[in-house]
């Protein structure tokens, strides 16, 4: 299933990581100029996760970003101007100034569900998207992200359990950046690896170096394909580090210097550049071209955003309810015969049938969405453990090429030890 990426794909990953960072750099400038109305949250150092995972999705697939997944939005096709205008509360922003940050979506074209500030809520929502896609025969995959912090919410567990019980085509990226605001992960969760959360739901999980974009991509790609094939949800823990504070106001002085230094030396873009040049995929000239392309784009996008007006005050009164015939345009797009879900073909006997029940063997999931007394232990991992530098198996070809393979696990463990002091 793993195949070499094309040169264009390698360069796409590079482009989107650079774009991700450039968009956020520009927003820091806008923030300092008081042009951003609310808070500004940074994904500095985590770009490989947003970009690598979203790049594994197809156009028809659905995603729901969290606050630090601007990169995923860009990959899915969101214009930088929309990101700028959201933060600047402009009238032309996707929410017309009604909400900020990455809190916007696009149901019809890009298939993006907006996050809200309450963490974990997207997990059952995207489970529902995945179930609806399956019901309609669309063969889509739904993906969302959660942080180490958000993985302790109740709805994370309700949602993931339900997704697992339903074998929904759903991929959850658990972005472990070691900090939930000021609280280190070790103070939140008594687990070495947050991927172990998956064991409780009998689903597969794996760990990946979140600063290695090719490893992130190929892990996500395999997870997406397996979810699409009906194998059920998969949890990917991407280990990384939040280089900025919780938001711009937070200098993050609680982060130990050594920890910061360690991760700054593992900048995902710098690592990837090293890999690309070692593979002769990127030379100085094409790097410069990409930089210029991004610069030109962002100057224009920023100008558009700055020229957009603030929303008229009376807009605040509108849109609470969906009224009128053309307000709701979403129609179920059937890609299977409707007759399969309507009588008489839908008719069943209303009894639970649990294949293999009592035999001590796995049901194989052939019957209705139940795992009764035969839940499979989560011993399988997506693809190859070695991608994560955390397992013992030999590494896959592509990830093996990817530059520094320092033990992420050891690093995060020692970092957390430091954090405990």
């Amino acid at each position: 299933m793993k195949k070499e990426l094309t040169r264009q794909q390698y360069l796409d990953l590079y482009y989107y990581m650079r774009l991700n960072r450039a968009v956020e750099d520009m927003m820091v400038k806008l923030f300092r100029q008081n042009k951003i109305v609310g808070g500004l949250y940074s994904s500095l150092g985590q770009e490989a996760i947003s970009v690598g995972t979203a790049y594994a999705l197809e156009k028809k697939d659905w995603l729901a970003p969290m606050i630090r997944n601007i990169g995923a939005l860009l990959v899915k096709g969101v214009r930088p101007r929309d990101v700028f205008m959201q933060h600047m509360a402009k009238y032309d922003s996707p929410t017309k100034g009604k909400d900020g940050t990455s809190h916007f979506g696009d149901l019809e074209d890009l298939h993006i569900v907006s996050p809200i500030s309450m963490l974990g809520d997207l997990i059952p929502v995207m489970t529902g998207v995945a179930m609806a896609g399956r019901y309609l025969g669309q063969k889509i995959v739904a993906m969302t992200w959660i942080g180490d912090g958000g993985s302790s919410t109740g709805v994370f567990h309700e949602g993931l359990n339900f997704a697992a019980a339903q074998k929904a085509p759903f991929v959850l990226i658990l972005e472990n950046n070691l900090w939930a605001y000021s609280t280190p992960v070790r103070k939140q969760v008594p687990l070495e690896n947050l991927a172990d959360r998956a064991k409780a739901y009998g689903i597969d999980s794996c760990i990946v170096d979140g600063n290695d974009v090719v490893a992130v991509y190929s892990t996500a790609k395999e997870a997406v394909e397996r979810a699409r094939a009906g194998e059920g949800p998969i949890l990917i823990e991407a280990k990384s580090f939040r280089r900025m504070g919780h938001a711009q106001h937070d200098p993050a002085e609680y982060v130990p210097k050594e920890m910061r230094a360690y991760w700054e030396a593992r900048d995902p873009i710098a690592l990837y550049e090293k890999f690309l040049s070692s593979q002769k995929l990127l030379d100085a000239k094409s790097k410069k071209e990409i930089e210029e392309k991004i610069d030109t784009l962002l100057v224009a996008e920023r100008e558009f955003a700055e020229n957009s007006p603030m929303p008229p005050p009376e807009l605040a009164e509108t849109g609470v309810y969906c009224t009128g015939d053309d307000c709701h345009k979403i129609r179920a797009k059937w890609e299977r015969p409707i007759a399969e879900v309507t009588p008489p073909r839908s008719s069943v006997k209303a009894v639970w049938t649990v294949a293999g029940f009592g035999s001590g063997k796995s049901s194989g999931g052939a019957n209705a969405p139940i795992h009764f007394g035969d839940t499979r232990p989560a011993e399988h991992t997506v693809g190859n453990d070695a991608k994560s530098a955390n397992g013992g198996k030999p590494s896959a070809k592509i990830p093996a090429k990817v530059a520094p393979k320092k033990a992420v696990k050891a690093a995060s463990a020692s970092a957390s030890r430091k954090a405990r002091r």
Partner: protein, 339 residues
């Protein structure tokens, strides 16, 4: 329990049959699922078991596992998943096994579902329904009337019907509505009342109250089970020469101000009866509307007959003391009529 005579909002007769409140709800779900394959039912024990109160009995047999979805005990997952389904063009009906448990999904409903259209133009056409209310000695966690938590949430619609005709027509309207609709089913009514429902497809408009009994001396505003109690009290008042007009709100959000104002401008006195607890109940909102828009028409104070400001107690003696009843309404109305 008095019978509901007229089927339609105007009491018009039809060629339908007499069905229980519960049967009306089951019919509404069945017919909507027949009509539109985008309609699915999701909840705890709604499939094989047919729902704790048997409101979904037979639906699994007819529509299958993909459309009648048994879930784990995870109200947030039920609401969240339904919301995601609605984004893909489905029209899910969520069942809360008892409406008391809806608060387990409070965040999903009030923050995710309710705000989506306002914030990012994402309508969530879905229904959340379940058995509510007391009088059946269900105790503090199986008797609640949590409607007002949600009436305070812009973006939701809140329905609380009192007759089989309205239950069926409003539930069908809720399924077809493009907004999230909460649909409260008073469990005391499930098998205790019967009413006529038409054989043909029909809906009852959301947001419209109805005058159940005409009168001129005072207006009694109520909904759900207390509507029947109010009618009972109105009959007793009539024997004393007090003709009470009884309004059934049916929808709490949006509230039908027009019907309320028209009645009170005629009777000049208003009594609000609800089974919900007193503080923060819909009576307060009705009072505010009257003070803002009919102050000069009022000949007496606005009077509330409500449950006590306590949890719903378990013992029959305690619960009966907790709840409003026809006698309490009668006394309060008589007092009000003196003004």
């Amino acid at each position: 329990m008095p019978k509901t005579n007229g089927a339609g909002p105007n009491g018009s007769a039809s060629n339908g049959t007499q069905v229980t409140f519960l049967e009306a709800i089951k019919q509404a779900m069945f017919e909507e699922m027949e009509r539109d394959p985008a309609v699915v039912l999701i909840g705890e024990d709604v499939g094989v078991y047919g729902g704790a109160f048997k409101t979904s009995e037979g639906l699994l047999e007819r529509f299958g596992w993909e459309r009648v979805i048994d879930t784990p005990i995870s109200e947030s997952a039920i609401i969240g998943a339904a919301c995601g389904m609605s984004y893909c063009g489905l029209r899910p009906i969520c069942e809360m096994q008892f409406i008391d448990f809806i608060v387990c999904a409070f965040n999903q409903i009030t923050n995710f579902v309710a705000k989506g259209h306002y914030l990012w133009n994402a309508p969530a056409p879905m229904v959340v329904r379940g058995p509510s209310g007391g009088g059946v000695h269900g105790g503090p966690f199986h008797s609640a009337n949590p409607e007002m938590y949600f009436v305070h949430t812009p973006g939701l619609k809140v329905i609380y019907p009192s007759t089989p005709y309205d239950a069926k027509g409003l539930l069908k309207a809720a399924v077809r509505d493009n907004n999230p609709v909460l649909f409260f089913e008073h469990k005391f009514l499930y098998r205790r009342i019967k009413g006529e429902v038409p054989a043909d497809d029909y809906t009852v408009p959301i947001g419209k109250a109805v005058v159940r009994r005409e009168g001129k001396h005072l207006t009694i505003i109520s909904y759900a089970a207390m509507m029947h109690t109010s009618l009972e009290a109105a009959e007793a008042l009539a024997k004393e020469g007090i003709e009470a007009e009884v309004i059934d709100l049916r929808t709490l959000l949006p509230l039908d101000e027009e019907t309320i104002l028209n009645s009170v401008k005629k009777t000049n006195k208003c009594l609000v009866v609800h089974e919900d607890t007193r503080t923060g109940g819909i009576a307060g909102e009705v009072a505010a509307i009257l003070f803002e828009k009919a102050f000069h028409d009022l000949d007496g104070p606005l009077v509330r007959v409500t449950s006590l400001d306590t949890p719903v107690p378990y013992a029959p003696t305690l619960e009966e003391h907790f709840l409003p009843n026809a006698k309490k309404i009668f006394s309060a109305a008589k007092e009000l009529a003196r003004y």
